[in-house]
Point group: C2
Chain length 484, copies 2
């Protein structure tokens, strides 16, 4: 894999992008001139061919050839769809595979849509089996059949197993590029064996020691091969107190292990303790980034990562489930208010004050939920301390209710000079904040217990309850104490 | 560094936590019994000493001795404050340093508060200079003076420079544990040199090649030492097309480079191209995790990571800035409504419908902002495509306005059988969604241009505008078209 030439990488990919954009702009300009001058289509084509394909596009192509696959992926993601496809056409076809692996799901779809069966099969053929498995959901069936035929028996087995792991399991992060040795040989023998490789697989910081039946017995760090004398025997150097992952463990758990123990790679074993693959830190880093992004996207009510240049229609669909849900809860809240129209007619000030009660409780409950979801993800909430947390969150919201409810009560008094109204305002704030804390704590706990991801959907439920609840409490109290 | 003994790590740290909790519970039980039976304080102390310090606590201590520092940090974070301090007391003091580095900022504060000058100096003395720099903000001045005195001249220089880098720069991620060699020697010589180390620094996947003046000339991967013959000369194997980081670059940029190029370590150079340190992937992984968490916390309006067992008072303060800000914007929105009290008095249905207009636009604008902030972070938004993005977001919100505005209009008609009201409802939804998209796009772009982090504060501003704006548009239209 070629690394980017420019040593000061950070302007690097941005600079690459600007250069590509400049070349594309020149290209577009010439095309526009040809178009404006009304040159007949056939001639125009020839003209463009001469002017561009010989100039800008050649420049662009050679520029692309010099770039790292990840940089090309970045540029493809940052370009609008027509320019993206133009650049994609210019990329050497023997790099299609590695680039398809690097781009985001949304952009990958747009690229694959332009490729025919042969191109796709060729691209997949350039990849390792674990990478093919990542690509598989986006490939047409006939392409997958072609790919399957082209693999060795062992590779087919790998691909088959890689495709069965669920997306959030260690199996989905795993690759099969591991080096393994026996424990009864000397470092000298190991070195001689390793020299037969042109290059060790990426991220080989340790070599796996297995027995005759492929059971993992220990690991030998590359480090220890380098600092020890050649005659030392593997078994005396290898470490046996190692961190093994299992194919069916949660990927998020594996990521925590990498973070906690500062791993570069970790062996993966099956139920019998047989070595089946390894997970490397680069995959974990991508996983952590993707997870954190999907948390942010979910919180904002986006189904999935969006290609910034996707069509309006496609983007809108990505956002509709959430908006639709919110509209339903808003309708419900609206009906709650509707039931108190008589009260509002008499005290129109209530209409002006009620959004305050609902809004602040929503914010406060959202803070509670965020803290709880984070603690759940880290496994910090146990049966022993859940009660204590509940008490703490209730105490905070009670304190908030007194402080901010007091401020809001004063605000109401200052405007409307009605003591009863102020007291109603303050009491409603206090009650709704406490209700929000309860709900903000119980929703994620309940979802967690039901085995669902508490980060998805908690906020819609929460807002629904603090809005409708807030209106109900405030207008209900007002009806009781102001309507006498 | 000891790795955890249990090979199947994932139940591991949870199991450790449960075991520690069980021991603590037994400890608490005995203490309670002693207390209940009204044994005089002095005797009780003796009794406890005998019963506990000899039993549970000894068990607990030996349990802790066997754990990885990161696991102890995890357990400390998951325990309420009294139990946390009890466990902290039992940890061997020669591990204080590495554990203080591992725990979260909030928990670190609680631990440091219980330690005296000597203990803190000793703990800091166990650390590398880059780690001391991380700890420095939490240490009292006199401790830092002690530490400084105990360092060598070179280390003092390192510590001084490490402490000057801003928190979000590459300098803050950097360590000084690098191995460097010259380019005119053979692998044999390199191997002999490396064997003088007991162990290479963690995450040494490559060795840095420097000239006489410490200028970085290239890197030699450990990998290539292992697979090549001993007589090969370094200069013929080393890679010169390398990724160098600069001390003053943004840490986030360095993290992107690690993700993009799958790095394990990267050299850091100063302005003159001299090698000054290195960044390793474990630090980057922690950085990415911390950043993503602080994004989530900021989005929910929490100033910083919260110790789940912090006091009510401390937690409340962490949440108040945001709630206070939101209360101000809610007051403003309330005044907007207050100005239309005459209209609401006549058409009380408006009070029930207005939260729908404000809410949906807020959600939609939040989706826009999230997409834009993400694209900004990835550097995907250029001058060339900003206009196109604006058009796209306006088109989506227009579409949403027609669809969801239409649904809301029907909802209003169904309830109140007033065509004019329905049309006002639909128009207000459409206008407010478009306004929301504009604001949702322009706020992060403006903050980005001003050099501020668009992830912080965008949402408060956004909600303020879609709420007040929604009420104004809806009630304004209603006043014009329904009050004739």
């Amino acid at each position: 894999m070629t690394e980017p030439q420019n040593p000061h990488y950070s302007d690097n990919v941005q600079t690459h992008l600007k250069q590509v954009e400049a070349l594309l702009a020149k290209h577009a300009l010439v095309e526009e001139v040809a178009h404006k001058e009304m040159i007949p289509r056939a001639e125009r084509h020839e003209l463009i061919d001469r002017l561009l394909h010989k100039q800008h596009l050649t420049l662009l192509r050679s520029k692309l050839d010099g770039l790292h696959a990840a940089d090309i992926a970045y540029i493809l993601e940052a370009l609008p769809i027509e320019q993206r496809l133009l650049v994609w056409d210019l990329v050497k076809s023997d790099r299609d595979g590695e680039i398809l692996i690097e781009v985001s799901d949304a952009v990958r779809e747009s690229l694959i849509a332009t490729m025919n069966r042969e191109e796709l099969s060729a691209a997949a053929g350039q990849l390792d089996t674990d990478e093919i498995a990542d690509l598989a959901p986006d490939l047409p069936q006939n392409v997958m059949r072609d790919v399957f035929k082209s693999l060795s028996v062992e590779e087919r087995e790998q691909l088959r197993s890689a495709m069965t792991y669920s997306e959030d399991s260690v199996g989905a992060l795993m690759d099969f590029n591991m080096v393994h040795i026996r424990d009864d040989v000397s470092l000298e023998v190991v070195s001689r064996y390793l020299r037969r490789f042109d290059e060790l697989p990426d991220h080989t910081d340790q070599i796996f020691v297995v027995d005759r039946d492929e059971h993992l017995k220990g690991v030998l760090s590359l480090n220890s091969i380098v600092v020890n004398e050649p005659e030392v025997i593997v078994s005396s150097l290898m470490r046996t107190d190692i961190i093994k992952l299992h194919t069916d463990e949660k990927a998020a758990q594996a990521a925590l292990a990498f973070e906690r123990y500062d791993l570069v790679s970790a062996p993966v074993v099956d139920e019998d303790g047989k070595l089946v693959g390894r997970v490397t830190v680069n995959v974990v880093l991508d996983f952590v980034r993707t997870e954190s992004e999907s948390d942010l996207l979910n919180q904002a009510g986006l189904l999935e990562e969006e290609d910034v240049f996707a069509s309006v229609w496609k983007s809108a669909k990505n956002r509709w489930v959430w908006l639709g849900l919110n509209l339903c809860t808003a309708f419900f809240a609206s009906r709650v208010i509707g039931n108190f129209e008589g009260t509002i007619e008499k005290f129109v000030a209530l209409a002006a004050l009620m959004p305050i009660v609902a809004g602040i409780a929503g914010n406060s409950a959202n803070q509670t939920t965020t803290i709880i979801i984070r603690s759940l993800a880290l496994g910090q909430i146990t049966q022993g301390n859940a009660g204590r947390l509940l008490f703490k969150e209730l105490a905070i919201s009670g304190l908030n209710g007194l402080v901010w409810g007091g401020v809001a009560g004063l605000f109401a008094y200052f405007l409307y000079h009605n003591t009863a109204l102020s007291v109603v305002m303050m009491s409603a704030m206090l009650l709704n904040l406490i209700a929000g804390a309860l709900v903000g704590l119980l929703i994620p706990l309940a979802m967690h217990r039901l085995g669902r991801d508490p980060a998805i959907g908690s906020s819609v439920l929460l807002t629904a309850i603090t809005d409708s609840g807030g209106f109900f409490i405030f207008l209900g109290l007002a009806t009781i104490f102001l309507m006498k």
